[in-house]
Amino acid sequence: MRQRQVEEAALREGLVAGDRATFEIVYRRHNAAMVRFASAIVRNRATAEEVVQEAWLAVLRHVAGFEGRSSLAGWIFTILTNKARSRARADGRMISFDQGGDDDSLAAAFDGRGHWKDLPDLWEEITPERIIAGRSILEHVNAAIDALPPAQRAVLILRGQQGLDSAEVCAALEISEGNMRVLLHRARLALRTAIDRLQA
């Protein structure tokens, strides 16, 4: 935690100074996930890219005020969430992440006594670099993330990729901790299923 704060303080200094090299580091670290995340809210890639550009401008304009109380990623994604939700509202779409979500995707995997009906497979062929159907496993994973319902996608990106802690995620998406845990669990289960199918 301390090391991250030291690194983030250095990044903040570079961003405040308008240092291009620093901005490139931060941009490359977060931009792709920001577009993917914004798409969950505005539902359109071109609009998502516009919203992300606006968010970057806001980040650079206000970074002098970033005090390190949250993580830098948490702060950036909070700005982005607000921009994306404003844009969605302006486009006439009401966005709420406070959903229980769909039914329990694992329910069918267990019998009446709570035991596995079919044994889960050994994933002997699932490595990041492996190519299946012309794409790497990681490209398949990104495609599976894009296919998640928006609320699950948003939570997975923030918590499972960007390393925001629970409190940051709940604050950014305005959801309860309980809701966040359900969404995250369902998102991970859906990804597991998608990866499992690659082996078939």
Binding site: F23, Q53, L57, L60, F110, G114, L122, I137, H185
Partner: protein
């Protein structure tokens, strides 16, 4: 909540607690229950392994894309928009 502490976990309960298990977020008693079950249940042992791989691939997927997203033009556009903004409001 489970009142009977002596009852073994079902596979379904293991699956529901998998996230907390991987995050080391279970109490000592709950961790012990999980460990006992995983030692005896091949299905759940594989499932937990799958969830661990899923978690690791999820993290890795974000990083791989980031390294290809070298959009110099966009970076330049953002930085010049920032400078223009500063000039007009300055």
């Amino acid at each position: 909540m489970e009142m009977d502490d002596t009852k073994m976990l079902t596979c379904r309960e293991v699956a529901e607690r998998s996230e907390d298990w991987l995050n080391q977020d279970l109490s000592r008693w709950q961790s012990l229950q999980m460990r006992l079950h995983l030692a005896m249940c091949k299905g759940c042992d594989r499932f937990i392994s799958q969830m661990r791989v899923t978690r690791d691939l999820t993290r890795a997927a974000a990083l791989v894309e980031a390294s290809h997203d070298a959009d110099d033009r966009r970076i330049s556009a953002i930085l010049s928009a920032l400078r223009d903004g500063k000039e007009t409001t300055g």
